[in-house]
Amino acid sequence: MRIKFWGVRGSIPAPGPETNRYGGNTSCVSVHTAAGNLIIIDMGTGLMHLGNALLRTEFGKGAGRATILLSHTHWDHIQGLGFFPPVFIGGNQFTVWGPGSSPDVLEQILEGQMDPNFSPLQTLKNLSAKVDVRAALPAFEAEGVRITTREHAHGHTRALSFRVEEAGRSFVYASDVGYPESGPEPAAIAHYANADVLLHDSTYKPEDQATRRNRGFSSYEEACAAAIAAKAKRLVPFHYDQDYSDDAVDGIVAACTALLAPHGIAVTPAREGDELEI
């Protein structure tokens, strides 16, 4: 599996020189399987840049196919859809697996993003590519790999974390995770168990989280606690607060490294444009 980070920021894109190194685009990660298939996780503004890169592949000719895993429908996880060039090319096919009691509910929410008051696209039906929306199952196969899903609390709502497994290797994407005060629950740890790479919500420094716990994001300390309890091999901190400069994120990374080194867990921060081979 080859993981690439296209957007690593939470809540709202944060342009400016102070975010140049880690990047200011919102959540989007691509996973290329060993077999060469594509899985996209979340559709924040980073998706636009992934889409531009994909135009040089079969997606540019209307012969592309990808699976999109959607953690939840907050703006920072869907804003890129209307700016994803491959969806404007007929012939491309996307299957979106996301939260919701039914595919119709999820499709209605995505449709609302294109409402003519808000978007010149007016409706999802104006996208030329085929976009098939489905409610994510607890476990399913897509692009030749096995995916397991866990629903977790995220403030007043729920979101999904995903575990992608191929040939004995595993990648977990756990963003926008709000744990109880007692920390990560056993079900969360079971979902992350022994992951080769655990990408985890690290929105806040603990002191900032203290005043905003109701928002449903993790601190980097919770991310580290999850990595230790799950015996993950590598932690990827992700979904940095929009107000954190690169220097502040450096601080988060250093703190994670200090917490995890005694446990032999490596730390690779999510940074726009970086790749990680599993």
């Binding site: 920021r9 809540s11 709202i12 894109p13 944060a14 342009p15 400016g16 020189p17 975010t19 140049n20 990047g23 200011g24 685009n25 503004t45 636009m48 429908t73 907050h74 703006w75 869907i78 804003q79 890129g80 700016f83 929410i109 609302g112 993003q113 409402d115 003519p116 008051n117 808000f118 978007s119 010149p120 696209l121 007016q122 409706t123 104006n126 403030g155 007043h156 709502t157 928002r215 449903g216 929009q242 726009e272």
Partner: protein, 305 residues
């Protein structure tokens, strides 16, 4: 008054090194009359930073009052509103003006805060919010400032604003297509064509254009949507954006004193924007008005200070 740019980008925010100088935030302009409350035009992601600056003053202790004029509710003009800190402080008063829609404005803005999309409902914002529905041609006062507006040629309709205060005037004209090739409104246009328009459509466009020229008449500053290059416009005339040439024509006819290129395309790098500005300046070398290109942090003083 002072005019300050907090977001100058169109369509979608674009973080990254290539946009450091002009800025990657979407549309937001602050008009600050002398010794009076701010008048904010559009609430793209740039308004997040304006909000933080305002919290340093009276808004920080819930005694602030601001008016926000919305050109239209496309995402790049409203995305920052849920991140505008003064709205989370009780006591602040925020008046939101926008064109009338099919449903009440408060319902439109509530949709943005629907639980599916954003964690905090509009009803939970602590500030005192008031929604004011406008139609083209409306004229009203915000304190000592006089505000007028005109319709633009844009999908689902946008409006331009003129603010007269402190002996000067600023006109904000974004987003709009030129008034020549197609009339944009409620219909979704899949494939544009450049045919001859039926006479009623021609006259409607001509009237809209005359309205914009009248609105901008003798303005000290005209801020204009120049998202497209001529080639891009040919490919996408139905997207509702103009070229620098269109802005220059309106500026000439309206006899403005200064023209500002605005609503830069997301894929435009700082170097691209420099080139577009230089080329546009060539075109107006014999004209009487000055020409600038908007960037985050640009502040233009007008009239009485």
């Amino acid at each position: 008054m002072k005019v300050r740019f907090w977001g100058v980008r169109g369509s979608i925010p674009v973080p990254g090194r290539a946009t450091n100088r002009y800025g990657g935030n979407t549309s937001c302009v602050e008009v600050r009359p002398r010794a009076a409350d701010p008048i904010i035009i559009d609430a793209g992601t740039g308004i997040r930073h304006l909000g933080k600056a305002l919290m340093e003053g009276t808004f920080g202790d819930g005694r602030g009052k601001a008016s926000i004029l919305i050109s239209h509710t496309h995402w790049d003009h409203v995305q920052g509103l849920p991140f505008f800190s003064p709205l989370y402080r009780a006591g602040n008063q925020v008046h939101i003006f926008a064109r009338q829609r099919d449903m009440h404005l408060e319902a439109v803005f509530s949709q943005q805060h629907d639980a599916a999309y954003f964690p905090v409902p509009l009803s939970a914002m602590h500030a005192d919010m008031h929604f004011h529905e406008l139609v083209e041609g409306a004229r009203f006062h915000i304190g000592k400032a006089h505000v007028t507006c005109a319709r633009l040629n844009h999908p689902w309709v946008a409006i331009a604003y003129r603010v007269d205060v402190d002996g000067a005037s600023v006109v904000y004209c974004s987003d709009t297509a030129p008034f020549t090739d197609m009339l944009l409104g409620r219909d979704f246009i899949e494939r544009p064509s450049f045919g001859t328009l039926p006479p009623p459509v021609q006259s409607e466009l001509a009237a809209m254009r005359a309205g914009v020229v009248a609105l901008a008449k003798n303005a000290d500053l005209l801020i204009y949507d120049t998202q497209f290059t001529p080639e891009e416009y040919q490919a996408r005339p139905h997207w509702g954006h103009s070229r620098p040439d269109d802005a220059i024509e309106i500026a000439r006819e309206a006899k403005v004193k200064q023209l500002c290129l605005f609503h830069h395309a997301p894929m435009r790098s700082d170097d691209d924007n420099d080139k577009i500005l230089a080329a546009a300046r060539e075109l107006v070398s014999a004209d009487k008005f000055t020409l600038v290109s908007a960037y985050e942090g640009l502040e233009i003083p007008l009239g009485d200070q």
